[in-house]
């Protein structure tokens, strides 16, 4: 059980725990952001090949000495998507706070049934 795998799964689950247990909306968004970081870490650690170096093919590094570049390309996109989602979520929360004057999830329940 590799430490990075363990860390990524732990981060994902702590993020999920925050969303499930915490009542403050901003805390939930912190949990969401942590979950996304955990997923990125998982993606990278899946693409890592032990004993190889970064995929910059400068003079010293030959193709069979480099790590898998694809997960790194994917994570580049995933991180920025994570930030975009967080920025959007926060602006929604700002609007929400302006109208509802509360951040407690139990009170944000006007739309139900």
């Amino acid at each position: 059980m590799n430490p990075y795998y363990f860390a990524s799964i732990a981060l994902i689950l702590i993020g999920l725990y925050a969303i499930l247990a915490k009542r403050n909306v901003l805390k939930m968004l912190v949990g969401l952001s942590i979950m996304e970081t955990g997923v990125n870490l998982l993606l990278i650690s899946v693409g890592y090949v032990s004993g190889r170096s970064a995929p910059i093919l400068s003079e010293g590094i030959t193709p069979d000495r480099a790590v898998d570049p694809i997960p790194q390309a994917l994570v580049l996109t995933a991180i920025v998507i994570g930030v975009a989602t967080t920025a959007m979520a926060l602006s929604v929360v700002i609007n929400l706070y302006e109208k509802y004057k509360t951040l407690n999830v139990e009170e944000i329940r006007r739309l139900r049934g």
Binding site: M1, I9, I56, I70, L74, L76, T77, V80, I81
Partner: protein, 237 residues
């Protein structure tokens, strides 16, 4: 309290299930299939030294186009949601003297460093995204330092649009010349810079695209920061 215990039990079971699944994907084992092709062919097919940049811009350029759109949606969305008739900056305290002088001194260097990152995207690690982010932090620096400073939307939004339009036009030119959307026509058809791999003017249209992405990401993140920091005046809707 019961809710927390249930939550912990739930996430433990889910964690155990994911761990069991991950055990079958051993860490550090060479499972590359398409990755191996990229590493072997990156030099002659794209001319970039940094394989990740080549994959990001050239091989999987579509993802990055999507990626830039996501950031564009985020900045437009934030602007749409936080739009008010009259908005002004409500920062009360001016930055300390260290901050203000630091801002004046360091600003050009941070900008320069950001531009350096995305211009050398195809050689050294980092590319359009960190470069753009560094430029955005430069503007953030100004926002924190001065209570009056505001980015002029009249210039930033069209610049953002222009960079986006630029990126899509590069793709369309590729479609026109090479027959495929986002086709690297500089490298594949014209073959400029084939001889000086590893130096600045090489790797086809990767530097052009990364410059456009750098400008776009920079302006967009500054736009988000600007929208977030301003508060509606009391009269504002």
């Amino acid at each position: 309290m019961v809710k927390r215990i249930f939550a912990i039990v739930f996430i433990l079971i889910i964690g155990f299930w994911m761990a069991k699944a991950l055990d079958q994907v051993p860490f550090g084992q060479d499972r590359m299939l398409v990755g191996k092709y990229y590493l072997e062919h990156v030099k002659e097919e794209t001319g970039a030294v940094n394989a990740v940049t080549a994959v990001v811009v050239n091989y999987r350029g579509f993802d990055t186009l999507g990626e830039v759109t996501v950031l564009f949606i985020a900045s437009t969305g934030v602007a749409a949601l936080l739009w008010r008739k009259k908005r002004k900056r409500t920062a009360k305290t001016e930055g300390s003297v260290v901050l203000t002088t630091g801002a004046r001194l360091l600003l050009p260097f941070i900008m320069l460093f950001g531009v350096y990152i995305f211009i050398h995207g195809h050689l050294t690690p980092g590319g359009g995204f960190p470069g753009g982010a560094t430029i955005a932090t430069a503007f953030l620096f100004l926002y924190l330092a001065f209570t009056v400073y505001e980015v002029d939307h009249k210039i930033f939004e069209p610049l953002e649009g222009l960079a986006g339009v630029g990126y899509v036009t590069v793709g369309l030119i590729g479609l026109a010349i090479g027959g495929y959307f986002l086709f690297d026509w500089i490298w594949q058809t014209w073959g400029i810079g084939k001889e000086n791999i590893g130096r600045l003017l090489s790797a086809g249209f990767i530097p052009i695209i990364y410059t456009l992405i750098g400008i776009k990401v920079g302006t967009e993140l500054t736009g988000i920061v600007d929208n977030m920091i301003k508060e509606p005046e009391e009269g504002g809707q």
